[in-house]
């Protein structure tokens, strides 16, 4: 056998275990889910029903509520982006106490969403510490039902999302800031650029790729990663008003009999939406970078 052929064969065969693992745990479930999205499936038996699951999804009116709920989280991303950016710049500038705050901000990131969720659920319950504090300060009557009113329930969820993401965001932006050459900052200093000028003309433009990465990953998270947080804090309520698509997939697949086919179809719809949202973001960011 020719040396080059042997070498390329060795290369392909070396990749085989990784591809086999990917095929088994990613591609097979994807193809399986796609197939079952056209069936009525209870896990044991499935019957081909064509596009009926998709028809139900697009006509029963539920999808739009679910999308609205996902959109609320999606629209909250600029807020956490700004917050992470500010925190990372302050840490980068080594303001007083930066070592302490660096650890403090990262702690929520290492907690599981369920722990964060349970904590927030207790804090925001009617007899929880938040109401007690607000009542002690004379701001409310201390009886606010945070989790049973739609706007406040969303507020608590977004607060959890921010609290958990801030550490990771600050870390990502810190690494982005570290990659910027010190010489640029020094030259700007020599040219008499102030802090704000350095921020808007050097720091932020240099961080565009990091901002894009942060935005895209969090946008994907807002579609596929909210389940545990929502499950722990509101369980999708009141009603279905804070139920995102991934939580509905769980409800349909595991809390509703015979609906695994419907859940599969909903998963495919979610996949398409997440793909589209990421593609649009990347296209826009490419334009912005240009």
């Amino acid at each position: 056998m020719h040396f080059r052929t042997k070498e390329s064969m060795t290369g392909y065969l070396s990749l085989l275990p990784a591809f086999a693992a990917l095929a088994a745990i990613v591609f097979y479930p994807m193809v399986n889910t796609f197939f079952h999205s056209f069936t009525k499936w209870n896990g044991a038996e499935s019957h081909w029903i064509g596009l009926r699951n998709y028809t139900f999804i697009f006509t029963n009116g539920e999808l739009w509520t679910l999308l609205r709920n996902n959109a609320v989280f999606l629209l909250s991303i600029p807020g956490i982006l700004l917050l992470s950016l500010v925190v990372s710049v302050l840490l980068f500038e080594e303001v007083r106490g930066w070592r302490f705050f660096r650890s403090l901000y990262y702690i929520p990131t290492i907690l599981s969403s369920v722990v964060v969720g349970m904590l927030m659920k207790m804090m925001f319950s009617q007899s929880g510490v938040v109401n007690q504090l607000l009542h002690a300060l004379g701001l409310t009557d201390g009886k606010t039902e945070w989790l049973t009113q739609v706007p406040t329930a969303f507020m608590v969820l977004v607060f959890c999302f921010y609290w958990q993401t801030l550490g990771q965001g600050a870390l990502i932006f810190l690494s982005g800031l570290s990659a910027i050459s010190h010489e640029i900052f020094e030259s700007a200093d020599l040219d008499g650029a102030g802090w704000w000028q350095r921020l808007f003309h050097i720091t932020i433009p240099s961080l565009v790729p990091t901002i894009v990465y942060f935005t895209v990953t969090n946008a994907i998270y807002c579609f596929i990663g909210l389940f545990s947080l929502v499950y722990a804090v509101t369980q999708g309520g009141p009603g279905r008003e804070t139920t995102p698509i991934d939580y509905m997939i769980y409800i349909k697949a595991f809390q509703t009999p015979d609906q695994l086919g419907y859940a599969s179809a909903l998963s495919i719809v979610l996949f398409a939406i997440a793909l589209l949202a990421s593609w649009v973001q990347i296209r826009l960011s490419n334009r912005f970078q240009d």
Binding site: M1, T10, F56, Q149
Partner: protein, 457 residues
């Protein structure tokens, strides 16, 4: 190619094949003979060492969803001191060839989720406890029909078989064994708070909706919150009774089948009356039971399941009465919701269904039902011709046992609705009680959901 390279490649290929075959064999291993894990929740009935012919014990995996195995007030209490462990010890002593492996799993909808996923993977338990009615029927693909394992004498001894029989019929495929009785949901109230408001429901029980509202107003005027209710507005315990008494059990069936709508004038009137209780400020949804036990709330809705805790908290100040009729035109009067809300099932994965049924029948035998009752278990007995004085002298328990046998006790409507619809109603009712959803829209949404479920079936 060098020999080392060949060896490496061969190793990689073998590894890939092993990985693929491992991934592919998971769900087909129905004849698996792996050992049951006492700690995890994935042990399978099929993993029971079915070696009776070789002298080995038959191992039955029991997913415990209802028997207490932790005492919140006494964390030092040993497992062996709980009723179910004692019962299992008794059963194993009487059947030395059987070993029961008990695994605790969460109850309610979580139990159903776990049972369903285990059923799909064909590694369900031999025995578990589920909610009865359509909660069980919705999982029948994974449940062993039991007709062949039950004798007529077994069936004649107990009540509640309709709740575990297909289509709630008197005869047909039986998917479970009814597990005790929940009694009848009524009102548990604080006599002292009622007396302070000038009320004596024992002498003058509220008979109509107007009486009920007047009573609640007096309680509110006395400075106490009249009703403690769960976040979902106690749909299952309270509102469902007003629904069911208004249209009767056949009406509930008609609603389920789409022959009658939720959105009809009678149920709309019920909903409007129900929401008025919230609008008038009679209800708190914050920790209702705790507030009732702490004497901050005058009444809660509950049946036998709450009686022990309520008695422990309030002592002789505890009172119990039936939920007032919504209207004099109601088809069922002076009743309540209740009956056999749970059952024991044998999963299709079980390799020993006969042994499993034998164990279940032991758990629901008269001696064991009395023993678990005396241990403080939250269910009454579902045995025919039982005299409550045989096991209790608490007048409220006697009353609950009597109520449960009355024809005016309506079987849990949420067990009659498809389980998806029950879940949806509870979710949407949260919005109604917070006045974020109009009652007419609520009823229309229920009809839409019901139609969607029926269409998908």
């Amino acid at each position: 190619m060098h020999s080392n390279q060949r060896k490496t490649l061969a190793l990689l290929l073998a590894g890939s094949l092993a990985l693929l075959s491992a991934c592919g064999s998971g769900s087909n291993n129905s004849n698996g003979t792996g050992s049951a894990s006492a700690g995890g929740g994935t042990a399978s009935a099929s993993s029971a060492s079915a070696g009776t012919s070789t002298g080995e014990k038959t191992k039955l995996v029991f997913w415990n969803t209802s028997y207490p195995t932790i005492d919140e007030n006494d964390k030092t209490k040993k497992k062996e001191d709980f009723y179910i462990y004692k019962a299992i010890a008794r059963y194993e002593a009487a059947n030395p060839n059987v070993e029961i492996v008990i695994q605790d799993i969460p109850d309610g909808t979580n139990a159903m989720t776990k049972f369903q996923t285990a059923g799909i993977a064909n590694n369900g338990p031999d025995v578990t406890n589920l909610w009865s009615g359509n909660y069980t029927m919705d999982l029948k693909s994974f449940i062993q029909p039991l007709n062949d394992y039950l004798k007529p004498t077994d069936i004649d001894a107990m009540t509640g078989w309709n709740a575990v029989t297909e289509n709630f019929a008197d005869t047909g495929t039986i998917y479970g064994v009814p597990d005790g009785s929940d009694g009848t949901i009524g009102i548990l109230y604080n006599k002292k708070l009622f007396a302070a408001a000038g009320l004596d429901p024992e002498q003058n029980p509220p008979a109509t909706y107007d009486d009920f509202v007047a009573m609640l107003q007096k309680l509110k005027d006395s400075g106490v919150t009249p009703i403690g209710s769960e976040q979902d507005g106690d749909f299952v315990y309270f509102l469902d009774y007003w629904f069911a008494q208004t249209v009767g059990t056949p009406g509930i069936n008609d609603i389920v089948n789409g022959k009658m709508n939720f959105n009809n004038p009678k149920l709309l009137q019920v909903m409007q009356g129900y929401v008025q209780l919230y609008k008038k400020g009679f209800v708190t949804n914050d920790q209702p039971q705790t507030q009732f036990y702490n004497r901050k709330v005058a009444l809660i809705f509950g049946g036998y399941g709450y009686l022990n805790d309520a008695r422990a908290a309030l002592g002789d100040d505890l009172g119990m009465m039936k939920i007032p009729n919504f209207s004099s035109e109601a088809l069922v009067k002076n009743g309540g919701i209740g009956g056999t809300g749970a059952d024991f099932v044998v999963s299709k994965s079980s390799k020993h269904p006969e042994e499993a049924v034998k164990f279940i029948l032991f758990l629901v035998s008269k001696e064991e039902q009395i023993a678990r009752f005396k241990d403080g278990y939250g269910k009454l007995l579902n045995l025919k011709n039982i005299d409550p004085s045989e096991f209790t002298n608490d007048p409220y328990v006697v009353k609950q046992q009597e109520w449960a046998g009355e024809p005016s006790t309506i079987f849990w409507p949420d067990n009659i609705y498809p389980s998806e619809l029950s879940d949806y109603i509870s979710s949407m009712n949260e919005l109604v009680v917070k006045q974020q959803l109009d009652v007419r829209d609520f009823l229309a949404k229920l009809d839409q959901k019901r139609d969607e479920i029926n269409k998908q079936r």
